[in-house]
């Protein structure tokens, strides 16, 4: 597998699309094994798509894209503004609260960063937020999405690692709340220092909060329905995804009446591109999984780690440190795909709860979306605000610190992740 890894890294460095780099390097493994036939990688690629559980990913992506077309984002923004607009740097707080609520209907950080930038970016520029700071706010807010159910990272981890997706979804809620609070504290510190203005002079009257809350209720209810539905076995994660699509169409057509045929087709078209990108990766990574198992890589990694320490927390810190570095250079989806089987095995053997580990792993890897040198969300937000990367890193330092603090806390206090799922399961 070392040759495979080498080929993969060279191809990725040369700018080849990651999906093909995975495919070609996986193929190299089979070329090197005389006992294996070459049709196996094709079969493995196909098998990856023939897993009913993985259908949840395209379905939730479709649901999120359709909900974006229903005008739900605007309604949630009014509600978030009524709740937090009176705080210093009000727009930033609105952004975090909006991201949290939006996280309950959308499933990917990249999509949310693009959308939040489009919706709230112009306001931040008008209020003269430092570009690097504004970029950091939108970027770090999009990380909340990955924790609040549904999230593609969780579905992927759960499917590959054979961990309950319902429990994973539930486990993400408290860390999601914590990230939101920590980010709001970090912004308050910066806001007081720089004197960024509130959005509105006074706290919004209860009546306005109530009114905007009611118009947003269909978005706010969704994650609750999702968690309860999975808990009580009304649907499997994939069925929940299909239900989410139906829900989006119903809300868009019957309640908000903004989902036209044209918008529906646009949402569907966006989904095709997203699905083509993610699923080809997933398909072609099949031969990697096979190769890793064939070469007994998880077992080897385990013996190395146990040689260092047998304390689960220490092992978790080592793994998270490695994931943090890997996440800086590689897309989180790719890493979840390639590493989950191996790491879940390691985690369970040393006595770390697989759900707890999943939350920490997904959160750590998505942090890489925000950091140089290769963070896709970082590139998106920096281009929105025309911010240079050094300025972005400097001005958003507190925000990154807040996210890191949540990771460390979640490692040290497993109950942050496990309390809610233990309560309702």
């Amino acid at each position: 597998m070392i040759a495979v890894l080498g080929v993969f890294l060279v191809l990725v460095a040369l700018g080849m699309p990651v999906a093909f780099a995975i495919g070609i390097s996986g193929f190299v493994f089979f070329l090197g094994q005389e006992t294996l036939t070459l049709t196996i990688p094709v079969q493995l690629t196909l098998t990856q798509t023939q897993n009913f559980a993985i259908l949840a990913i395209p379905l939730f992506i479709l649901a999120g894209n359709l909900l974006n077309e229903t005008g739900i984002t605007r309604r949630l923004m009014h509600f978030a503004s009524a709740l937090t607009g009176h705080l210093p740097a009000g727009l930033a707080h609105v952004n975090f609260v909006l991201a949290f609520m939006l996280g309950g209907v959308t499933s990917s950080a990249i999509g949310d960063a693009t959308m939040l930038g489009r919706v709230l970016g112009p306001g931040m520029i008008a209020r003269k937020y430092a570009p690097g700071f504004a970029a950091g706010i939108i970027g770090s807010a999009s990380i909340i999405t990955t924790m609040v159910p549904p999230g593609t990272g969780m579905i992927l981890y759960g499917t590959i690692g054979e961990v309950s997706i319902g429990r994973l979804f539930t486990a993400g809620v408290v860390p999601g709340v914590l990230i939101t609070i920590f980010l709001m504290i970090a912004v308050s510190i910066t806001a007081r220092r720089r004197g960024y203005p509130p959005e509105r002079p006074h706290r919004a009257p209860l009546k306005e909060i109530g009114r905007t809350g009611i118009t947003s209720i269909w978005a706010l209810l969704f994650p609750v329905i999702l968690i309860l539905g999975l808990r009580f076995g009304y649907f499997t994660p994939s069925e929940a995804g299909a239900f989410a699509v139906a829900y989006a169409v119903a809300v868009g057509v019957l309640l908000y009446r903004e989902l036209t045929w044209k918008r529906f087709l646009r949402g569907l078209g966006d989904t095709v591109t997203d699905v083509g990108m993610i699923m080809l990766l997933i398909g072609l990574s099949g031969s990697w999984g096979y190769g890793l198992t064939w070469d007994r890589v998880p077992q080897r990694l385990m013996s190395v780690l146990i040689g260092i320490s047998e304390n689960p927390t220490v092992i978790m810190f080592i793994l998270v440190g490695a994931l943090l570095v890997a996440g800086m250079f590689m897309d989180s989806t790719v890493l979840i795909l390639l590493l989950t089987t191996m790491l879940v095995m390691v985690a369970e053997r040393v006595g770390i709860d697989a759900v707890h580990f999943g939350i920490v792993m997904v959160l750590t890897l998505t942090l890489g979306l925000l950091t140089p040198p290769v963070g896709i969300v970082m590139y998106i937000v920096c281009s929105i605000f025309d911010a240079s990367i050094p300025a972005y890193v400097r001005q958003s330092f507190y925000l990154f610190l807040a996210l890191l603090a949540v990771i460390v806390l979640t490692i040290l206090v497993p109950d942050i992740a496990l309390w809610l799922p233990d309560l309702i399961y």
Partner: protein
């Protein structure tokens, strides 16, 4: 990570009309016509898949589980994935990392792109060949639980999708080589 911008030839092609996300690509000729058919086909597969999963969920809740709906949903999904992969490739939306490459001069980058693309095309040729062989050998095997549907019909999605991507790659490589010639004095 850039969302595939590095997969674009560094000196773009005036003929290519970049399609905005979610909307049907413009342009005439077989290449573009095929692109519209692919988009339409993938959209239809995604809708069919969603409906099938819904029917499956409803029928199970109603106490009459229909296992064929699950099988057909994964069947539609395989086709959506492999044809959709080409829709993504056409739009240069494949994830790639341009961290190292962007440090080179445009000329070197253009050559690297060519090498990558030829390698990818060779990989796709292998996938088409091996996928066809696999489709042929699985002819006798029925698709799980559906005796009337040969497993070949789902297997063939792989070589078909890869053949479509191969066609797209050769199209891109051809345009790219024309551009390279233009770059050489």
């Amino acid at each position: 990570m850039s969302d595939g911008s590095s997969a674009t030839p560094p000196h773009g092609d005036a003929l290519e009309v970049p399609a905005s996300d979610g909307e049907a690509p413009a342009g005439s000729g077989f290449y573009h016509h095929l692109g519209r058919v692919e988009l339409w086909f993938t959209q239809a597969s995604v809708v069919a898949m969603t409906l099938l999963v819904l029917v499956s969920a409803v029928s199970r809740t109603a106490g009459h589980p229909q296992s064929w709906t699950v099988e057909m949903a994964t069947f539609c999904f395989a086709w959506a994935v492999f044809v959709g992969a080409d829709v993504t490739l056409r739009r240069d939306k494949m994830v790639s990392i341009d961290l190292v490459v962007k440090r080179f001069s445009p000329r070197v980058r253009a050559w690297i792109w060519l090498v990558n693309s030829v390698l990818t095309a060779l990989f796709l040729v292998a996938m088409v060949g091996l996928g066809s062989r696999l489709s042929y050998t699985t002819y006798e095997r029925a698709f799980s639980g559906l005796p009337w549907l040969s497993y070949t019909w789902v297997t063939i999605a792989v070589p078909v999708g890869c053949a479509l991507m191969l066609y797209t790659m050769t199209h891109k490589i051809r345009d790219h080589v024309r551009g390279l010639r233009g770059l050489t004095p």
